[in-house]
Amino acid sequence: MLKIYLGEMKGAIYHPPTYFDNCYEDEWLTTPLAKEMIRDVDRSEVISAHLIDSPVLGPIPPKDLSGGIKTLLLMAYDTDGKIFNASVCGDNCAKWILKLGEQKDLTINLRHVMRFGKDPFEILILNTGTIVRNMSEFVDVAEAYV
């Protein structure tokens, strides 16, 4: 289930892209999920664990992926139990955060209102212990914390 802690959170990784640069593993990049997320968010193709083909920047290393995709990869594969600040992710990452939350227990920190789309979802808000099921409910809870 996706769990969100809203607002300032002690111990959360404030800038996941920097954490990614120093902690990612090669094998994360070549999984089908990683390839799909990178294709969708960064519009880039994974050639190998060390090479990504970006339509804008040309051939790039994983360190030049977007901050949003680096954070998604950490959410998917980091096993150190860290909680990552998802406010470095744009709204185009929201559907992937929801998907990751369906596949595993995922706790993230969010410091702004992310648009999770019009479809229903299920998110546990850790600040209040309540479950929100659509954007309207999410915004109503979030306004006290972001």
């Binding site: 968010v41 949003g68 995709i69 406010s87 306004e143």
Partner: protein, 325 residues
């Protein structure tokens, strides 16, 4: 610093081009839109100059502000545009807000967080997008677009008005609404607006707030009204700007200023534009029958001729015809 600054930053793959015209500009939007690439290019150009292979064209230096020494750098800089990427937590601090108040520099902040310490405009919150490609090359143009376009869901035929404050602006609209049997309420400050939206009924409701300093609230407000389609936001610079813009004063200088306010509003003197417009209106009306005070509305503004002049200049709201007494 004052005036608009055109910025062009390019290498053989990317061409960024945009105009910065206020002391605080925010860049946010989707992931992978080129925000960090922009900052990296500015950093490389600043450090290596021409030998970076990056061309920066701007009448003032474009620089990156980051790291633990940000305050020292800022204290020793003037007439520059500082770009600050989202990893720099200090942009959220009161210390940063104090440091940039009265600064001779402009600041471009890359963040999705709501910076309640800073009075930035709804008009200066941008995203980046690809606007085209160079012919026969892989090079792309990146431009900025306004995240919150000011005409979104406007004009509105109102049944209820909520004003941000309880001063002159509220007093003016309360009178206008009373004549038309429309409800008018004061939110009692911009931080209370989300709560008012939550309580709004089904009537077509327009919230009038100072666009010049409501940037930090926009993430929440835009999401709130997305869920309430009968609630609309009308965000002029400020109530004082509305009066100035209505040409009620028939003042040539005011007209000229409003064409390009950025040429007159010095960041060292005004943290946000609504402070300038208030000062300008007070100055221009001093000693006249329209003498303006923010705390209490001069009744002259409620005379039919003057009131209508202001109302006619408001393009975001369609008013009901006055009720017969």
């Amino acid at each position: 610093m004052k005036g608009k600054k055109r910025v062009i930053i390019q290498n053989n793959r990317v061409h960024y081009e945009f105009v910065i015209k206020r002391n605080i500009t925010i860049i946010q939007g989707d992931s992978a839109s080129g925000k960090t690439t922009l900052v990296n290019m500015i950093r490389q150009a600043e450090n290596l100059g021409e030998s970076s292979g990056i061309n920066v064209s701007c009448e003032v230096p474009c620089r990156v502000l980051e790291g633990v020494n940000w305050k020292i750098i800022l204290e020793n800089s003037r007439e520059s545009i500082f770009f600050i990427d989202e990893e720099n937590y200090f942009i959220k601090t009161e210390e940063f807000a104090s440091a940039i108040r009265g600064s001779e520099n402009y600041f471009v902040l890359i963040t999705r967080e709501n910076l309640y310490n800073l009075p930035y405009s709804v008009e200066e919150i941008y995203g980046l997008h690809v606007s085209g490609k160079y012919r026969d090359t892989r090079k792309i143009y990146q431009k900025m677009y306004q995240i919150y376009p000011k005409t979104a869901r406007l004009p509105v035929r109102v049944q209820k008005i909520i004003t941000e404050d309880s001063n002159s602006g509220y007093q003016f609209f309360e009178n206008v609404c009373a004549e038309r049997n429309i409800t008018c309420e004061s939110a009692g400050g911009k931080t209370k607006i989300p709560e008012m939206i939550g309580k709004a009924g089904t009537e077509e409701t327009c919230i009038i707030a100072d666009g010049a300093a409501i940037g930090a609230e926009m993430n929440l407000l835009s999401n709130k009204i997305e869920e309430k389609q009968n609630v609309h936001l009308y965000l002029p610079e400020s109530f004082e700007w509305l009066i100035l813009n209505s040409d009620l004063l028939q003042d040539k200088e005011v007209r000229k200023i409003l064409e390009n306010p950025e040429d007159y509003i010095d960041s060292t003197e005004f943290f946000s534009w609504e402070q300038y417009f208030t000062k300008l209106l007070i100055q221009k009306t001093e000693g006249t029958y329209l003498q303006y005070k923010k705390a209490k509305l001069n009744p002259s503004y409620l005379q039919d001729k003057n009131k209508n002049k202001i109302l006619e200049s408001i393009q975001g709201i369609q008013w009901k015809i006055k009720s017969l007494k």
